[in-house]
């Protein structure tokens, strides 16, 4: 994907994180997306999340498929390894990456076209395997690179820029992920960085598959009055039902969160996610009820956001496979090759 190198200017007073790095160290190339693209806001949130988590950039593997969203890994964490895969197949690359090295931070960035059409199968199986990664869908309901066709997330009745009306029901990645057993399912809005950053941080620290569907309006092809994925519509009809606060393991939990209003979930590294219920009707621990609620609000034209469902402790890919704790790519050859004597002994059964 295209990008323009960004000059790195570090002011002396710029805040440094626990690693002594500034936020500039978490940036990538200049974006070549349209001015005002929601994806760029998500990029900024990702940059901030990694910076605040004190993650060494080279310990991050960022992956994507094909499409506008899939260009964005070039625009954050320039010092990370990137993998721009083929259309819709980033989840399998992530699966292999995770299998080989379970200690990397994996972040995949995809779009509604990439994940919900050609990549629907791989997306579904990544959820099902509880792959340890953060999977961000930058969801704008439209194909931008091929100039404005509906994607599979376009709502019934929404219109394309040229006036054509969509009549097919949308695929909602959030409902799908919940139905498939996803252990961390969240929805955000690119225009709400305050909500987005803790969701990204919590998703990165969650052991297992963390889906973050982010409504990210396409200013060129889908930001008009007949769109349900426009800035105006999203701002008007968005309903944040759960607010997530992310507390890194090294910070104490302050007393401002009263018991009863807040659900505290401890992550595997000792960090905590505090789920503050904004809507009294919502229960982020009940998968079935959460799906019912999201569906009901969708019928009413509303978009439910927040950390919508979370479960800790389910085995991830390595838990199911019982893989050894040492990353497979670091195992010495002597621990892998059975050797000459074993081969000789084995062959007695072939005579």
């Amino acid at each position: 994907m295209t990008s323009i190198a960004k000059p790195k200017i570090v002011h002396a007073g710029l805040r440094r994180n626990g690693l002594g790095l500034t936020i500039r160290d978490y940036e990538g190339g200049m974006s070549t997306l349209c001015a005002g693209c929601g994806h760029d806001s998500i990029t900024a949130a990702i940059v901030q999340a990694f910076f605040e988590l004190d993650v060494p950039p080279h310990r991050v593997a960022k992956m994507s498929g094909i499409g506008c969203s899939s260009k964005t890994p070039a625009y954050f964490l320039g010092a990370s390894h990137g993998f721009n895969a083929v259309h819709g197949r980033m989840p399998s690359i992530a699966t292999g990456a995770c299998a080989a090295n379970r200690e990397l931070y994996l972040i995949g960035v995809s779009g509604d076209g990439d994940s919900l059409s050609i990549g629907l199968g791989q997306f579904a199986h990544a959820v099902r395997r509880n792959l340890d990664m953060l999977y961000v869908i930058e969801n704008n309901g439209v194909y931008g690179l091929t100039k404005g066709q509906f994607s599979a997330s376009a709502d019934v009745g929404s219109k394309a820029k040229r006036g054509e009306e969509n009549r097919q029901p949308p695929i909602d990645p959030v409902q799908m992920a919940m139905a498939l057993g996803g252990t961390f399912v969240a929805r955000g809005f690119s225009g709400d960085k305050e909500q987005l950053v803790p969701l990204i941080k919590a998703g990165l620290q969650h052991r297992g598959f963390a889906l973050l569907d982010v409504l990210s309006p396409c200013v060129t092809f889908n930001d008009h009055e007949d769109s349900t994925k426009s800035y105006a519509y999203t701002r008007a009809y968005r309903r944040a039902v759960v607010h997530a606060d992310f507390i890194p393991s090294r910070q104490p939990i302050t007393a401002e969160y009263a018991e009863g209003e807040v659900l505290s979930v401890e992550l595997h590294d000792g960090s905590r996610v505090l789920l503050r219920k904004v809507s009294k009707d919502y229960n982020p621990n009940n998968r079935g009820a959460a799906i019912d609620y999201i569906r009901a609000r969708h019928r009413a034209g509303e978009i439910v956001t927040g950390l919508l469902y979370m479960a800790e402790g389910d085995p991830d890919l390595h838990g199911v496979n019982k893989t050894v704790a040492t990353p497979l790519n670091e195992l010495p050859f002597d621990m892998l090759c059975p050797g000459r004597d074993a081969l000789a002994a084995l062959q007695s059964r072939f005579r």
Partner: protein, 604 residues
């Protein structure tokens, strides 16, 4: 009619009904002959079906060590009423047909030029065994017993094999031995035993094993240090992963904790299987996927990606009959071109052609080394005949000094010392760049992409920069030609200047054909190709032989086409000898083709 004396040189064919449990009886029969020191080979012809349809097992006994099909049937065991007519027809003159005489088959089984022996297998087993399933299973062992007597097999060897085969199910041992005794006694009491067609002990199988190619391939993957296997089940490659998992369970699982030093992922499809492999190799694990033709078609997109982005990958393609779904349980070598050029654009892949299970093991290890060294996919082209049938081959050996060739991977210390890292620079002039693994060092970060990139790894649409990269990939291809396994060339001291070229499982048929031609005074050289790119030795063989027969198992002469495209050999020099019905090739086809050409040549 009087029967020809065929000691240690005959074919037994067993016609069964799929799903009746005949496989263990047939395999036991073959192994007994092997343990008597006589070379043997077995071919299973089975339907793409669970049960009920006809299935055949063919055992060639050959003191001379010929392992291909011979084209004849000396002893037929006809256990399938559906195929009596065909089975009767297939017996060579002077041969013997054995059938279950529980039911009268006189009208069907009439042929004056063969000997027909009836053994009341079902009746004997029905009288002896209680359960319906046992009666069916034991019929198979009863015909083994009859053959022990008729072929003069060593009964103690057979009994030992029964003990070993059913070691985990002691109750089965007694029943099987009883069934063998039933058949044995009946044959001894009823017929002149042994037949002129019989086995005499020899010492020609010492140092040999019987193993199928898929098991040997899986062992190669284990010994090469592969830790990630991804796959989608498909006949005939499924047993590669079954065996890999089983060996890993045995050798790579901590007995105390149950922790595994491997990760096998059954993918949702072949698109994902190869993606998982690439994700793993990008992160420095050795990873592979077994598949067959239809799976390879699905993997093509990612294979092109891996070629251009320069990622290692090992694909084991156990070929079956195409096009499309084709005949899933029949054999062919028809993926050669699609494997060589899988994906769009100027893409080509390293191919390896094992010809026997030992080579499946060795070339599987070589595949990982080549993939890592060249940073590119390597496709091991096996086939159903090689992969699923038991072959006699030399014992597998392992050099304890072996260490994987991981190629040009910069470690943390090298990156720390380096001024800068650029992914696609040809530092050494061999076309192979240096790579880094995620997470190792901040200086190693770069972007893997299938889109146009320059020698620094940055996206480009600049013509010059793009061409610089693809031209280097061509240089790397030249390096590959030097690194891949060289052909096995067998020259005849009295050579006529004619040659045969073949690859993979066609080898036993060609070896036998070369011997048979020599017996007829026709002396041909033989070049068995083991890899693509072909390399200098193959080029030279083609240059130095005025006429070259290319023996292969497909309709369109794919290997010949590849030789025409990728060497300087004039097209007219190559003559296709083709076999593509789905059964393994036999020597007769090759002998006839060369003889015919000879007659035409002489006439001309």
């Amino acid at each position: 009619m009087p029967q020809e004396d065929r000691v240690n040189d005959f074919v037994i064919k067993l016609a069964n009904v799929n799903g009746t449990g005949s496989a263990s009886a047939n395999s036991l029969l073959m192994k007994a002959i092997f343990r008597m020191g006589v070379p043997v080979s077995g071919k299973n012809f089975f339907p793409s079906n669970i049960q009920g349809l006809p299935t055949w097992y063919e055992i060639r006994v050959s003191e001379a060590g010929h392992l291909a099909r011979s084209g004849r049937v000396d002893v037929m065991v006809a256990m399938n009423a559906q195929t009596y007519v065909q089975d009767l027809h297939d017996v060579s003159p002077g041969g013997t047909l054995i059938y279950d005489s529980t039911w009268p088959r006189d009208k069907l089984l009439s042929r004056p030029d063969i000997q027909i022996l009836g053994v009341p297998l079902a009746r004997m087993c029905n009288e002896r065994f209680k359960s319906a399933r046992t009666r069916i299973l034991m019929k198979n062992m009863a015909y083994v017993g009859a053959l022990v007597a008729l072929l003069d097999l060593d009964r103690s060897v057979v009994e030992q094999l029964v003990q070993e085969t059913f070691a985990k199910k002691a109750s089965a041992v007694g029943a099987n031995l009883e069934a063998i005794e039933l058949g044995y006694r009946y044959a001894r009491e009823t017929f002149d035993c042994p037949l002129p067609t019989r086995v005499e002990p020899r010492n020609a199988t010492a140092g040999k094993i019987m193993i199928d190619g898929n098991t040997a391939t899986a062992l190669g993957c284990v010994y090469a240090g592969a830790t990630v296997g991804a796959w989608y089940p498909i006949t005939p490659s499924t047993s590669v992963m079954d065996a890999f998992k089983s060996f890993c369970e045995r050798f790579r699982t901590d007995p105390q904790t149950g922790e595994r030093r491997y990760c096998v992922i059954q993918a949702e499809d072949e698109l994902a299987a190869i993606g998982i492999v690439l994700g793993a190799t990008w992160n420095g694990a050795r990873a592979f996927t077994p598949t067959s033709g239809p799976g390879l078609s699905l993997m093509s997109e990612f294979l092109g990606f891996a070629y251009f982005a320069e990622l290692p990958a090992v694909v084991v393609d156990v070929q079956r009959v195409g096009p499309s779904t084709g005949m899933p349980t029949r054999t062919q070598q028809a993926d050669i071109l699609s494997a060589a050029y899988a994906s769009h654009g100027d893409t080509k892949h390293v191919l390896l052609f094992p010809a026997h299970p030992r080579e499946c093991f060795e070339l599987a290890v070589a595949a990982f080394d080549l993939a890592d060294r060249l940073q590119t996919p390597v496709i091991l082209l096996s086939d159903l005949d090689l992969g699923m049938n038991d072959w006699m081959c030399d014992e597998l050996e392992w050099d304890p000094a072996y260490r994987p060739d991981r190629g040009k991977v910069l470690d943390a210390a090298e990156l720390e010392a380096a001024q800068a890292f650029h992914r696609y620079l040809d530092v050494d002039g061999d076309g192979i760049p240096y790579r880094t693994l995620p997470g190792v060092h901040p200086k190693g970060a770069y972007f893997v992409r299938g889109s146009g990139h320059n020698r620094y790894g940055t996206y480009t649409e600049d013509a010059r920069e793009y061409q610089e990269v693809v031209d280097r990939l061509r240089r790397k291809w030249g390096t590959a030609a030097e690194l891949v396994p060289q052909p096995v060339i067998r020259t005849h001291p009295k050579t006529d200047g004619w040659g045969i070229v073949a690859a993979g499982s066609s080898d036993p048929a060609v070896l036998e054909a070369v011997d048979r031609l020599a017996d007829k005074g026709i002396y041909v050289d033989y070049c068995r190709i083991r890899a693509f790119p072909f390399g200098r030795q193959v080029e030279r063989f083609l240059e130095t032989h005025e006429r070259v027969f290319v023996v292969e198992q497909n309709r369109d002469a794919q290997l010949k086409a590849l030789l025409t495209l990728e060497t300087d050999c004039p097209k007219e020099r190559l003559e296709a000898v083709l076999h593509y019905g789905g059964l393994p090739v036999d020597a007769g086809l090759v002998v006839e083709a060369v003889e015919r050409a000879r007659e035409q040549g002489v006439a001309a």
